[in-house]
């Protein structure tokens, strides 16, 4: 699945090999850059604008949700307001990244 030459993905993209290889090199380059951003973000502290400095911005927990259409699991990072009880309203947040970058939480 993650090989550079992957017949299924090449078929899906409908590209000849000469086009597919540089294309995937670009995609992997972008994913690697995104990976670095994820790593860098873990070491960064909150800015003062939005969240009190003494409060952690890390999620309270991570859950795995079943995908409807395959056996994949979806990573969901959970933020719960301090001191709240009972069923709470829910906001689902979806990160950006041009539909290809793994930037959850960044």
């Amino acid at each position: 699945m993650f090989g550079l030459i992957d017949y299924d993905t090449q078929q899906k993209l409908g590209m000849p090999l000469s086009e597919y290889i540089p294309f995937m090199a670009t995609i992997y380059g972008i994913r690697a850059t995104a990976g670095l951003a994820v790593w860098a973000a873990k070491t960064r502290k909150a800015t003062v604008d939005l969240v009190p400095l003494d409060q952690s911005i890390l999620p309270d927990r991570v859950i795995l949700v079943d995908s409807n259409d395959s056996n994949r699991k979806i990573n969901v990072e959970v933020y719960v307001p301090a001191g709240a009880t009972g069923p709470l309203p829910v906001h689902i947040n979806l990160h950006g990244g041009s539909f290809i970058m793994p930037l959850l939480g960044v």
Partner: protein, 228 residues
């Protein structure tokens, strides 16, 4: 630079709600509409957790590609299931990267120089789209382009986009279509700002610090009213 995690924590603090920062399938391994299916899966999950989640008070939001998915999810579900959407600079029309002609300038656009934000190269954007969209899928399909969803299917929403964002003209067209259909849209155009502008606001950019504060305030207002 502001992190997504910080925004999630902020929204959870201010709205007193649970924020689920959800991942989704990415191209080219998982092409459209798998990402949307993942968002719908997470929404379905919220309906199975009555001990801690009140799924009747659900809002969805996102940034860029995530904002596109938030809009698609809201429009594809029965009306009222998603009570409001916050969409910051969403791609709404995946047939092209920008429509012909630019909307008239707004106050603040006359100041020289570009504001914060990314400039996305059209060539790179084309590659991203190619990775995400199956070759045989219509790019005007309502499972990938919110502009072609039934306009009245959308709940109240806030739309934030910079006037120097390549997606600005599409967002203006989208906003007009929804407003004509009677959907409550709080449209915030940010003069001179580019894509992902709020991440690039640094201390001392006083105009943009204020605009960022305003954008978050209006986002919270929209979501709070819907979750009440």
């Amino acid at each position: 630079m502001i992190r997504e995690a910080e925004i999630c924590r902020y929204l959870s603090n201010t709205l007193k709600c649970v924020v689920l920062d959800a991942d989704y399938a990415k191209g080219p391994w998982h092409q459209a509409p798998h990402a949307l299916d993942d968002v719908l899966s997470v929404i379905k999950y919220t309906q199975t957790q009555p001990e801690w989640l009140d799924a009747s008070r659900l809002t969805v939001g996102g940034f860029s590609a995530g904002a596109n998915l938030a809009l698609l999810a809201a429009a594809s579900l029965p009306k009222g299931m998603v009570r409001a959407v916050s969409a910051w600079y969403p791609p709404v029309d995946l047939r092209t990267h920008a429509r012909e002609g630019s909307p008239p300038p707004i106050p603040g656009d006359e100041i020289p120089g570009d504001g914060p934000g990314q400039k996305v190269s059209p060539q790179l954007l084309l590659k991203f789209r190619q990775a995400y969209l199956p070759v045989d899928m219509d790019r005007g399909d309502p499972r990938i382009s919110p502009l072609f969803c039934e306009a009245s299917a959308f709940p109240p929403l806030i739309l934030v986009v910079g006037t120097r964002d390549a997606l600005y003209s599409d967002c203006v067209a989208f906003q007009q279509k929804l407003t004509e259909a009677g959907v409550a849209v709080d449209f915030m155009a940010v003069p001179r700002a580019g894509h992902s502008w709020e991440r690039y606001v640094t201390k001392g950019m006083s105009i943009f610090e204020q605009l960022r504060e305003e954008a978050f305030r209006r986002t919270v207002e929209c979501l709070k009213a819907a979750q009440a």
